[in-house]
Amino acid sequence: MHWVHATAFCILLGSGLCLYLPSLAEAVNRRPLLKSIHLYTAASWAGALLLIFVLGDRRSLLRTAREVDRLDPNGRMNRGQQLNTIVTAAFAILFAITGFLLWYGERDTRFRFASTLLVHDWLMYVSFVLFLGHLYYALILPSTRHSLSGMTRGWVREDWAKRRHPGWVAALRRND
């Protein structure tokens, strides 16, 4: 789930910016190709999420959803990560809807709204900032960057978990 999102986000951001910034648009200068990349990446991303839900570990997904829903202080994620998950989920849907409207509005004028592009842009700005923050915590800040291990390998060191997520460790112990 995380890596489907991450990959799609990076490709969509890159191709989107090339469609969007005059300087990059001139440098790359392959608009129809970039448009196709942007479109098919978006479609594959939506398809991949669907596949994860159909074929993936639904119980684990639901467990995470429940944790985020309750902002569980003893969960796998801390409050900030839970909020980030909520924002990311909502933005994913908003990106998809506005993106669809941009695409479909080109084909049917009834679905063309003045604000669609604006909303899509602003989602991008906010997501970009969140993305940079996410990278900072995961790659740079020494006290938190061990969490990258959780994202890439699926596990973290126990001493680190005890320090950063004591409630979660305690809750796991109780369940053992």
Binding site: L19, Y20, L21, P22, S23, A25, E26, N29, R30, R31, P32, L33, A65, V68, D69, R70, L71, Q82, L83, I86, V87, A89, A90, F91, I93, L94, I97, T98, L101, L102, G105, E106, R107, D108, T109, R110, R112, F113, A114, S115, T116, L117, L118, V119, D121, W122, L123
Partner: protein, 228 residues
């Protein structure tokens, strides 16, 4: 504990964001109008990198046409007495007009106070002498198959021009170098870029975007589903 478990903060926040985002399709433009002094100051600061309030470049073909002053010509033909072609230097030598307008794109973005400089069509057409049966003008871009047209009435609106400069500089490649049509009363897709040919015609033909369902008369704020 069971009390805390029943509180659904997460889905509340999620739905709130979703609702806010969706409803912003209705209020987004207004809000951005209120915020625009702020965002445009910010975009001035970060310049081209951060494009709030800036241009977006749309092309329909694989790549933007390249302007070569040596080979580029503007052909003017169709229903005219004296068809001819202009070199870039010949266009530069024609009487020059200047204007400042807002540029509106049909997809919803606007660039304020664009400074255009170029040639009025009346000056251009004087040189080829349109025939009485000419009722419309068709613009053909080097970027094929882009083309669009105006009626003669629209062509002679106050601020319509064949622009050669934007914001004090010769048109850049993304902006349609060396010459583009500017008609501020209409959405940007009527302003054919990378212009290479002008034809006087008896009936207004269907342009590129009109063929895809956009309005022939692209009045800003009262066409393509917009109302003011």
């Amino acid at each position: 504990m069971s009390d805390a478990a029943d509180r659904h903060y997460g889905r509340g926040a999620f739905l709130l964001l979703l609702g806010g985002g969706l409803s912003s399709l209705a209020w987004g433009t207004k809000a951005s109008g209120v915020l625009s002094p702020l965002t445009s100051a910010f975009s001035q600061l970060v310049g081209n990198i951060f494009p709030v309030g800036g241009w977006r470049i749309y092309t329909i073909s694989g790549s933007m046409p390249i302007f070569d002053p040596k080979t580029w010509r503007l052909e003017i033909g169709g229903l005219v007495k004296k068809p001819r072609s202009f070199t870039y230097d010949e266009l530069l030598a024609l009487p020059r007009a200047h204007q400042v307008n807002d540029f509106h794109c049909v997809t919803g973005w606007t660039v304020r106070n664009v400074r255009w400089s170029g040639v009025r069509f009346s000056h251009l057409l004087d040189q080829v002498e349109p025939l009485p049966q000419a009722k419309a003008i068709r613009f053909v871009s080097l970027e094929q198959p882009y083309n669009d047209s105006l009626s003669l009435g629209q062509l002679h609106l106050l601020d319509v021009m064949l622009a050669l400069e934007m914001d004090g500089e010769p048109l850049t490649r993304p902006h349609g170098s060396p010459a583009r049509v500017v008609i501020p009363e209409m959405y940007g897709y009527k302003g054919v870029k990378w212009l290479t040919r002008i034809e006087m015609v008896a009936h207004q033909p269907t342009g590129y975007w009109e063929g895809l369902g956009y309005d022939q008369n692209a009045w800003v704020g009262r066409s393509n589903g917009y109302t003011t």
